[in-house]
Symmetry: C2
DNA sequence: TGTACATCAGTGAACGCGCGTTCACTGATGTAC
DNA sequence: TGTACATCAGTGAACGCGCGTTCACTGATGTAC
C-alpha cells in the first residue's frame, strides 16, 4: 500500500507548483520587488485570491524559491570541491559542473544572483543563510583533504567562502552566455578555470 | 570673468540633482524595477510631469546613477592596486580604502550591488561596461608592477577581474556591517585581507 | 537701458488601468457513523 | 455501502488607490534689437 496524497492535497500542491514555476519564469525579466501577485495568478490561470491559499505575499513565495533553488545544490557543492587525483582535474570538473547546472537551471541561477542583493529583505536573508551553509559544507569537505593539514579552521572557512563566491560569479557569467555562441562559453570557462587555478596555487603556498 | 550657468540652467540642474538624490535614497529599500516615477517626484516636491524634463524613464535615471556611482571610482581603483613597498601593506591599504568608500557612499555601493544583476537591462549593461573598464585599468596598473614580468596580458586581465570582483564583494560585506558594532567591521576586514593575501600568494607563484 | 518676443522648466487636471486585499460564496473532497 | 455533515481550495465581485502618460498652461528667464 503506497502512501498517496488525498486528491485535494495533490491538487493544492499542483497549483502551488504552478505558482512557483510561473513566478520563476516572470522573474527572468524583472526582480521580485516588482513582481505582482496578480501577474503570477494570471500566468497560472487561477483567480488572484487563490494566491493567498499558498503564500502570504510575493516575498513569502520568494523565500520558497530560495529553498528550491539552493536546497538542491548541496550534493553538487560537495562534489565540486572534493579532492581529485590532480588539482587541474578537480578544477575542470568543478567548472564543468557549474556550466551544466547553469544550463539545466538558468532561472534558478538568475533568481539567486538577482535577489542576493535585491530589494526584499527576507529573501536576501534566506540566500545569505543558505550560502553560509554552503561555505560551511565546503569547509568540511576541504578539511578532509590532506592538503589542508596545518590550516586553521578560520582560514579554511575563508577559502571556502572564496570558492563559493567564485562559483556564484562563474555561474552568473555562464548565464549571460546562454544565448551566445559556444565560443563565448568556452572563453568564460577558460577564465574561470584560470581564476580557480590561481586560487589553488595560493592555497598550495598558504603555509609557506 | 567666471563662467556661470544661467539662472534657468542652474535651477534645472538643481532639480535634476534632487531627483537623483531622492531616487538613490528610495533605492536603499527597493530595487530600480519597482521604483516609481511618482515616488521620486513626490520625495522631491515637484509635479510628476517635471520628471520628464530630465529623464525618459526610471531606467534612464538608473543609468545616470551608474555613471555617478562608478564614474567617481576610477582614481581610487588605481590607488588600490598600485604597487607598495610591501604586499601586506598594499592589501591593508586596499581594504581600508574600500571600507572608507562604503562608509562615505553606502547608497552608491548598495545601488551597484543591487542592480548589477537587477531587473533593468540598460542599467545592468551600464554597470557591466564600467566594471569592464575598471578591470582594464587594474590590468594596466598591474602591468606596471615588476612582479608582472613574464605574465600574459590575458592572465593579467584575469587577475584584474578577480581583484575587481573581490573589491565589490568586500564592499557589499562592509555595507551589511554599517549598522553593526565596530567588531563586525573588523571581522569583515580581516577575512577580506586574508582573501586578498591568498590571491596575492597565488599571483606570486603563478609562473612557477 | 528698455521693449517685445521666444524659450522652456515646472504645473495641474484628467485619463484609463492594474494593483493588493476583503468578503461571502461554491462545490468537490474528506470523514464519521 | 450509504448518508449527513465538515472542510477548504479556488471563485468572482467589489473596494479604494497609486500608477505612467497626455495635454494645454503659466510665468520666469533669455535674447534680439
Amino acid at each position: 500500500m503506497s502512501h498517496t496524497l488525498g486528491v485535494r492535497q495533490a491538487q493544492k500542491q499542483k497549483t502551488r507548483r504552478a505558482l512557483l514555476d510561473a513566478a520563476l519564469a516572470l522573474l527572468e525579466e524583472q526582480s521580485l520587488s516588482s513582481l505582482g501577485l496578480r501577474e503570477v495568478t494570471r500566468a497560472v490561470g487561477v483567480a488572484p485570491t487563490a494566491f493567498y491559499r499558498h503564500f502570504r505575499s510575493t516575498a513569502d513565495l520568494g523565500v520558497a524559491l530560495v529553498e528550491e533553488a539552493l536546497g538542491s545544490l548541496h550534493p553538487m557543492i560537495r562534489t565540486t570541491v572534493s579532492p581529485a587525483e590532480d588539482s587541474d582535474e578537480r578544477i575542470d570538473r568543478a567548472v564543468g559542473l557549474i556550466a551544466g547546472h547553469v544550463a539545466a537551471h538558468p532561472a534558478h541561477v538568475r533568481f539567486i544572483a538577482r535577489e542576493r542583493h535585491g530589494g526584499v529583505q527576507p529573501v536576501r536573508e534566506a540566500i545569505r543563510d543558505q550560502l553560509a551553509r554552503f561555505a560551511e559544507e565546503v569547509q568540511a569537505e576541504l578539511a578532509k583533504d590532506p592538503q589542508s593539514a596545518g590550516w586553521h579552521d578560520d582560514d579554511l572557512l575563508m577559502l571556502a567562502g572564496l570558492y563559493v563566491d567564485q562559483m556564484l560569479n562563474t555561474a552568473s557569467l555562464f548565464l549571460e552566455t546562454l544565448q551566445a555562441p559556444e565560443e563565448e562559453r568556452r572563453r568564460v570557462a577558460a577564465v574561470a578555470t584560470r581564476r580557480m587555478r590561481l586560487i589553488s596555487i595560493g592555497r598550495g603556498h598558504w603555509l609557506d
